[in-house]
């Protein structure tokens, strides 16, 4: 997270055909050296990181909405305080990540614009609605659980500012998952109606959560290069498997059923096998066809428009004070 001011305009990247520079860069990566903002980097490395970090930031910002939906209806003051803190954290995580992306030479305003116009994507998990209080528990447990699985290896990402931001995020995220599981535990051990509510939430959130790791390795377009650059440390499928193996026993403890008739323990591999996933549906939601895509972006646009006068007033106030200081000197 270093300032844009430290990056020369256009970035220091050489031509992609500069084989020597590319080889030197790859050697640094292979030696586990971190890449810092002012360093030479291939234009494609820069572009990949800007896309990934800004989409990650957008996901945090949009991710405030599904849970924010339940703040005023949280069942107790304790739950409400925790939920407010969690949603505030998501906003903070978005800001750490925007700051990290800015070190690569993209302006904050440009990223905001990409989100508001729909040019940039964000995690498709946030395009599903939060219909009941149990959804708040399921999101903390499953969505944040999956996010942590994804984010822990990113703490060792080759790009320094991204890795440092992820270390902060991971430290804070652990509270999110635990509070979610606590909500689920209370419901699962509660009345039959509460348990049914918890099961319903698991039924709706399980598949989208498992899909958060992205398309299967066989179809993942960015995977190989990102692995070579050590932006990514594990493949989508291996992280997905790790999440499933960790989560199935947690569901068993709650006495809830994972909504997958093909889910089986495989003694040979030492992992759980799952049934086929509907990737056509995943892509439909990514491309804007999910139940909440329109509303999420409409809310973001409204928040941005509603904040316009605040930004203008802050700038005018700062200019007035600067002029007064100058006159006094």
């Amino acid at each position: 997270m270093y300032s844009q001011g430290l990056i020369r305009p256009g970035g220091p990247d050489g031509g992609e055909d500069d084989a020597d520079a590319l080889a030197r860069f790859q050697a640094r990566i292979d030696a586990e050296e971190k890449i810092e903002p002012g360093d030479w980097m291939p234009a494609a490395y820069r572009k990949t990181l800007i896309r990934q970090i800004s989409q990650h930031a957008h996901s945090e910002i949009v991710g405030m909405q599904p849970e924010g939906n339940w703040i005023t209806r949280a069942p107790t003051l304790r739950r409400k305080a925790a939920l407010i803190a969690k949603v505030q954290d998501e906003g903070g995580h978005g800001l750490y990540l925007y700051a990290a992306a800015e070190t690569l030479g993209i302006a904050r305003e440009e990223m905001e614009e990409q989100l508001l116009t729909g040019a940039a994507k964000y995690s498709s998990i946030f395009n599903y609605p939060t219909l009941t209080w149990a959804d708040v528990g399921a999101i903390g447990w499953l969505v944040d659980g999956a996010a942590i699985m994804n984010q822990i290896p990113l703490c060792r990402c080759s790009f320094g500012p991204y890795a440092r931001a992820m270390i902060r995020v991971c430290k804070e995220e652990s509270f999110h998952q635990r509070q979610g599981y606590e909500v689920m535990t209370a419901l699962a051990k509660g009345s039959p109606a509460q348990k049914a509510m918890a099961q319903d939430a698991l039924d709706r959130w399980w598949t989208p959560s498992v899909m958060m790791f992205g398309p299967p390795d066989s179809d993942s377009t960015h995977s190989d290069q990102s692995m070579a650059w050590k932006i990514k440390r594990f493949t989508n499928d291996s992280l997905r498997q790790r999440f499933i193996d960790a989560t199935v026993p947690q569901a068993e403890y709650l006495g809830l059923r994972i909504p997958d008739p093909d889910l089986r323990w495989n003694a040979e591999t030492g992992h759980y096998d799952i049934g086929p996933l509907d990737w056509d549906d995943f892509w439909r939601v990514v491309k804007g066809g999910g139940p909440m895509n329109r509303q999420r972006i409409a809310n973001r646009r409204r928040a941005h428009d509603d904040g316009q006068w605040v930004r203008a007033a802050a700038a005018a106030h700062a200019a007035k004070r600067a002029a007064r200081r100058e006159a006094a000197e």
């Binding site: 270093y2 903070g92 800015e102 902060r168 804070e172 930004r311």
Partner: protein
Amino acid sequence: MTEAPNTPRLPLWEVFIRPRNGLAHRHVGAVHAADAEMAMLAARDVYTRRGEGRSIWVVEARHLHASDPDDKAALFDPADDKVYRQPTHYHVPEEVGDM
């Protein structure tokens, strides 16, 4: 969604936090804000939600001067061949013990 053309972009401020007295301020990230006062408020909200700090510095990014990465060799390589600046370069007889 479009900003009024006369609204300037909010400047970038680098944020440094002293985790507790006795330790130096350390760079933690950046915020955008119209002036130092607002940058301070934003830094507090974004970077110290869990008691991470006892003191905050915000520095407008345009006031920060950094060494040029291209000068790395000229600036730092000369230190590499001056091993005589390291204590381990000097031999102390074993009988003398730790020094």
